[in-house]
């Protein structure tokens, strides 16, 4: 906006203001009604959903799945999406949100056109709608994404019925044990600090997998306890892991 446009705006605004109504009581009345609605909604939400308290902190658990408040879902989801390009993780975690924030922060400094009507600001309209759609989509997919304690892998071809049952049972045990907190399995889990498990069955024999589970390298928790308390589950876990021969690019067993 140049000086003439600024003065033109101020002139126009002064006229509009002069034609308007006093703040009290007209605007105040609307604000007060809105404030009451806000209060009523907050009270209603509190009465309906309360403030439930989960189980107390246990820093030694390895199976707990962190979930942020819903308004951080889009950030978490962004991380999940960007994690598919591991070299870009740093960029994704804070680079992208920071860039968006800076862009938002400096908006009035780079968008200086005098036009205010949104129908005559096609770039702003497109950018605004795109931002809303992106955040809504990321929030939605962050909300419905299966908990990281779940694992749904394509069942490898050519398994007998019993093997298939073991595979599905092992899948659940891996999910419950929180392996994905540190290991990547196909598109599931975190890339590190533990090694990739996508084709661990091609790297280690079942015996090797079992001994690693019992005597792991720190910080991985030992599964010797599981082997003692529930040998069947432990065996299913070992069998499942040894069936992982995925080729990460093609996803075929």
């Amino acid at each position: 906006m140049n000086q003439a446009e600024k003065e033109q705006y101020l002139r126009e605004y002064a006229l509009l203001k002069n034609e308007g109504k006093p703040f009290f009581p007209y605007a105040v009345a609307k604000d007060a009604i809105m404030a009451m609605i806000v209060m009523a909604v907050i009270m209603l939400l509190s009465l309906m959903f309360g403030a439930e308290l989960g189980p107390a902190v246990n820093p030694t658990t390895t199976t707990y799945v962190p979930r942020p408040d819903w308004y951080f879902f889009f950030l978490f989801e962004l991380l999940r999406v960007m994690r598919n390009a591991p070299k870009m993780t740093d960029l994704a975690t804070l680079g992208v949100p920071t860039l968006c924030m800076v862009g938002l922060f400096l908006l009035p400094l780079y968008d200086r056109s005098p036009e205010r009507l949104i129908t005559r600001r096609p770039v702003a309209l497109a950018a605004g709608i795109a931002t809303i759609v992106c955040i809504a989509y990321l929030t939605y997919s962050g909300a419905v994404v299966g908990s990281p304690n779940q694992l749904v892998l394509p069942v490898p071809a050519g398994l007998t019925k019993a093997q298939k049952a073991t595979f599905l049972a092992g899948e659940i045990i891996v999910g419950e044990s929180g392996c994905e907190g540190c290991h990547e399995i196909g598109t599931y889990g975190n890339n590190g600090p533990g090694p990739l498990l996508t084709h661990i069955g091609s790297i280690l024999r079942p015996g090797g997998i079992a001994s690693t589970l019992k005597n792991p390298t720190a910080p991985m928790p030992s599964f010797a306890g599981l082997a003692k308390s529930s040998p069947k589950k432990f065996d299913e876990l070992v069998q499942f892991l040894s069936m992982l021969h995925y080729n990460s690019s093609s996803w075929t067993g």
């Binding site: 006229l15 308007g20 809105m34 806000v38 308290l53 107390a56 707990y64 056109s113």
Partner: protein
């Protein structure tokens, strides 16, 4: 002192001699007016207040314009309910934090209700901020002369998100603990300042006993103070510059009015 005071000033209460002429409510009004006048004589606020309340808002203002004050109202709700929660909360890792929230939920009168209002008020505030921001964006209200209001508003948005993040840890249950660990670690991967911010938040390289009290102090002192100051500045700018008019409204009056109007 007392003698000088009673002589030098017109007596504030109504003298007993007149009490048969004035009814009780009238006497109360008289007395309160005297108090108001006494304060205003010194603080001289009435002129500013009158200007603030009776300044005109441009024509065409609609319900979308209440979103800003609604956000502020949600902030006030957070402040008030937060004060009540702080009366019962103990930011202690070793037996205290979790139990004190349990106590609020189970024993304190209306405890869970107030806790719920604080919890859900945060969500409502976030929603209102985004709606308010959308209104300002699509109405082009961030343009000249209101650029600074927008910038302060974005800072307030970031601070509100920081409130959500720091407040999430305080109940100290499994969910809040692990989400915070992950959040702080994500922060640590940021370029340049990331590791330092993470260390500052944790109060050291590891998540320890000081972390919770640090989050508590940030959540209830540092950020609310900053936010209150910035909301004040934001409001000052709104009043000084005037509420933006909807962009599709055009002035119809001829130019005669210009002289009368302060900009």
């Amino acid at each position: 002192m007392a003698i000088i005071g009673s002589r030098g000033r017109p007596a504030a209460p109504v003298p007993p001699a007149q009490s048969d002429e004035l009814t009780r409510p009238e006497a109360a009004t008289e007395a309160s007016l005297t108090v108001v006048n006494w304060i205003d004589e010194r603080a001289q606020l009435s002129q500013g207040l009158r200007w603030m309340m009776f300044r005109k808002v441009p024509k065409g203002i609609n319900w979308a314009y209440t979103l800003g004050s609604a956000t502020m109202f949600a902030f006030l709700n957070q402040a008030v309910t937060g004060v009540f929660l702080a009366m019962y909360y103990r930011p202690s890792v070793t037996g205290g934090a979790y139990e004190s929230i349990r106590n609020i939920n189970d024993n304190v009168f209306l405890g869970q209700f107030v806790h719920g209002m604080h919890k859900w008020g945060a969500s409502v505030m976030i929603v209102l901020i985004f709606l308010h921001m959308g209104r300002v964006f699509f109405f082009g209200a961030y343009k000249y002369p209101r650029e600074l209001s927008w910038i302060i508003g974005v800072v307030l948005l970031i601070l509100t998100m920081a409130m959500g993040f720091t407040g999430y840890l305080l109940p100290f249950d499994q969910r809040s603990y692990w989400a915070t660990i992950v959040g702080v670690n994500i922060n640590g991967t940021a370029p340049f300042l990331g590791p330092y911010i993470s260390d500052f938040l944790r109060g050291g390289p590891e998540f320890g006993a000081t972390t919770l009290s640090r989050f508590y102090a940030i959540h209830m002192m540092l950020i609310p103070g900053l936010m209150a100051a910035l909301i004040g500045l934001h409001l000052y700018l709104v009043m000084k510059l005037g509420i933006s008019a909807p962009p599709w409204i055009k002035a119809q009056e001829p130019d005669v009015a210009i002289e009368k109007v302060e900009v």
